[in-house]
């Protein structure tokens, strides 16, 4: 019988850590898209993930639509919820300040969570894995096929967004809003529309994160807040607004969590990453890949 060595154990924790980290990275990317265009931190970002998971369960498991179709419909529905969030909670605010905007997104997240509880109740839901649950063994490390889907989707999202922001007119217009909304308006960009688009886009990415996460960790109405906190942490750790930073921060938080829970006390799982996050912030107030000069120009 093969004994489990420390190295394989460590590798196992690394694999699970990177998978969870990829989810955090997607949430962090969602934070950044909205932040870059509006300088708003959307604390309801985690609710998109929760909605993505639960709506996918409803459409795929309860209604029986095929996986790919259900996937597309779910992204569409969650994107709509992102648009509603902007129109109902953010746009009507007349005197935005960091505090009112943070409070508004917190309020929205409570409303979304409450609505989800009414619809789905409090029990967790499972979703079939995208390509079965037969584990793959690699040198003593057990890999769920779904892990690969999660990491794969992170790669797809990262490449897709890079192309979108660098190669398309729409993406460039959004980047322009991020740099200077007034100048963007002057050259004829409809800033309001870009804000709306940023909410739609990050809701869609949240939905993808939720759908890929559910087969691994189940999903219930109450998961959004913690996912938002971890994703926000990842975005801050990497440096707000930076996409490579979001991926780096997300993977780091996932890894620290997994290693900490596996090798040290598991009860402190949620604390390790946050302690590291605080230490990093104290040493580098703008995060790892963030730029202090840039943050000075930001209003918030």
């Amino acid at each position: 019988m093969e004994t489990i060595t420390f190295t394989t154990q460590l590798l196992q924790f690394t694999v699970t850590g990177l998978t969870v980290g990829a989810i955090y990275a997607m949430v962090a990317i969602g934070f950044n898209i909205i932040y870059n265009v509006t300088e708003i931190i959307n604390l309801a970002q985690g609710e998109f993930v929760m909605l993505g998971g639960l709506i996918m369960v409803f459409i795929h498991v309860s209604l029986g639509l095929p996986m790919i179709l259900a996937f597309i419909v779910t992204v569409f529905v969650v994107t709509l919820s992102g648009i509603l969030l902007d129109r109902l909670a953010i746009k009507p605010i007349r005197q935005p300040s960091v505090m009112t905007l943070i409070i508004a997104t917190i309020a929205a997240s409570i409303v979304i969570k409450g609505t989800a509880m009414l619809i789905w109740g409090k029990s967790p839901y499972d979703l079939p894995a995208f390509s079965g649950r037969t584990p793959i063994e690699l040198g003593g490390v057990v890999l769920q096929p779904q892990y690969l889907w999660v990491i794969g989707f992170l790669v797809v999202v990262a490449i897709g967004l890079t192309l979108f922001f660098n190669r398309t007119i729409l993406g460039k217009a959004m980047s322009a809003c991020a740099d200077n909304p007034d100048a963007a308006r002057l050259v004829g960009i409809n800033v309001q529309q870009m804000v709306l688009l940023s909410f739609a886009l990050s809701a869609a990415i949240g939905a993808i994160a939720g759908m890929t996460l559910t087969p691994i960790a189940l999903m219930d109405y109450d998961r959004g807040a913690m996912l938002a906190i971890k994703g926000f942490g990842a975005a801050i750790l990497g440096g707000l607004g930076s996409f490579p930073g979001a991926i780096l921060g997300g993977l780091m938080i996932g890894l620290i969590e997994s290693w900490g829970a596996g090798l040290l006390l598991s009860g402190y799982k949620d604390a390790y990453a946050l302690v590291i996050l605080l230490l990093v912030l104290f040493a580098r107030p703008s995060g790892i890949l963030g730029n202090l000069e840039v943050t000075k120009f930001k209003r918030f």
């Binding site: 605010i93 409570i110 906190i229």
Partner: protein, 317 residues
């Protein structure tokens, strides 16, 4: 905002003094003084927060941690070491203040969203410690057997006695905070709120003031926590979790973060909403919370405390 009107203060004090007597006449609301004890405890925290958020312009999403530090200092020191509750309250306040200085000094250099994240992370970490250090805190099940308070050798027994004690402390904090706002310190704080670079250029030591206010608000929150522990005689970690920090933000938004009156009104209103009125909604409660908060933020950004000013403005026209 510098001038404090006398009339509302007199009205407020009379209201607090007569409240138990009046509610005691009506069986349907005779339990209201009990709610007001909690309202008073919340007030202590929000008064500190209004100085931090409304005057110094710093956001905190982790004040439940200081509330918890006070409560657990009282709980642990009385049950494990048999120390006098008042001394525990003092020790808790000192610990909370020191922690606030230690966390605040590096945190408050952070701006806007970074500060929000730092306080959020701090609050979560402290709550996990409450949950995990079972030997001392009783873990998720909490700890009981915390003694009540005694005044001059007489133990406080009735709800009304706690009511008057808590509100006396709230009044003391209220007046001390008002003095603080009117002092040069208060002026410096408002200057920081308006523009940090300008305040700095005028010679205001920005970081020192920010840390001071943070520590002061932590001290008040810790006192509130101790009062809660001795009144309930039982504490558990979920009372001091991040959702409570969010609830504090709801209180500030309801009342209006820019006014110390707003802090008091928001806390009292919230206590009644959460313990009394929203219960009728059952499962829908959370939805009502969220909707109320959203409506207030969108349509009443100055909170309830902004209403008199609005009426005055309209009257002048």
């Amino acid at each position: 905002m510098l001038r404090i009107h006398k009339a509302p203060i007199v009205a407020g004090v009379l209201f607090i003094l007569l409240f138990p007597w009046v509610t005691g006449r009506f069986p349907a609301i005779e339990h209201y003084p009990d709610l007001m004890v909690f309202a008073g405890i919340y007030c202590l925290i929000t008064i500190g927060l209004s100085l931090l958020m409304g005057y110094a312009g710093q956001i905190s999403l982790g004040h439940a941690a200081f509330y918890g530090i006070g409560a657990y200092a009282s709980g642990i020191l009385t049950t494990h070491f048999g120390i006098n509750p008042w001394l525990c309250m003092l020790i808790g306040a000192v610990v909370a203040t020191l922690v606030a200085v230690a966390v605040g000094a590096p945190s408050l250099r952070l701006r806007g969203h970074y500060l929000a994240m730092a306080t959020l992370a701090f609050g979560i970490i402290v709550n996990i410690v409450f949950r995990e250090e079972m030997e001392w805190t009783g873990g998720p099940d909490g700890m009981g057997g915390i003694p009540g308070l005694a005044l001059f050798g007489y133990p406080l027994e009735s709800v009304n006695q706690y009511y008057y004690l808590v509100w006396a402390i709230v009044a003391a904090a209220f007046f001390f905070t008002i003095r603080l706002i009117q002092s040069p310190t208060g002026r410096a704080l408002r200057a920081i709120h308006v523009s940090e670079p300008a305040a700095g250029a005028m010679g205001v030591d920005i970081s020192r003031y920010k840390v001071m206010v943070f520590a002061y608000s932590a001290l008040l929150a810790s006192l509130a926590g101790s009062l809660y522990a001795h009144y309930m005689m039982f504490i558990n970690p979920s009372t001091f979790d991040t959702f409570f920090s969010i609830k504090l933000i709801i209180m500030m938004a309801l009342g209006g973060a820019h006014s110390i009156w707003g802090a008091v009104v928001g806390a009292v209103l919230f206590a009644f909403l959460s313990f009394e009125w929203l219960h009728h909604f059952g499962e829908l409660e959370i939805l009502v919370y969220g909707s109320v908060l959203l409506l207030v933020t969108v349509f009443m950004p100055e909170g309830l405390a902004g209403i008199p000013a609005k009426i005055l403005r309209r009257g002048r026209r």
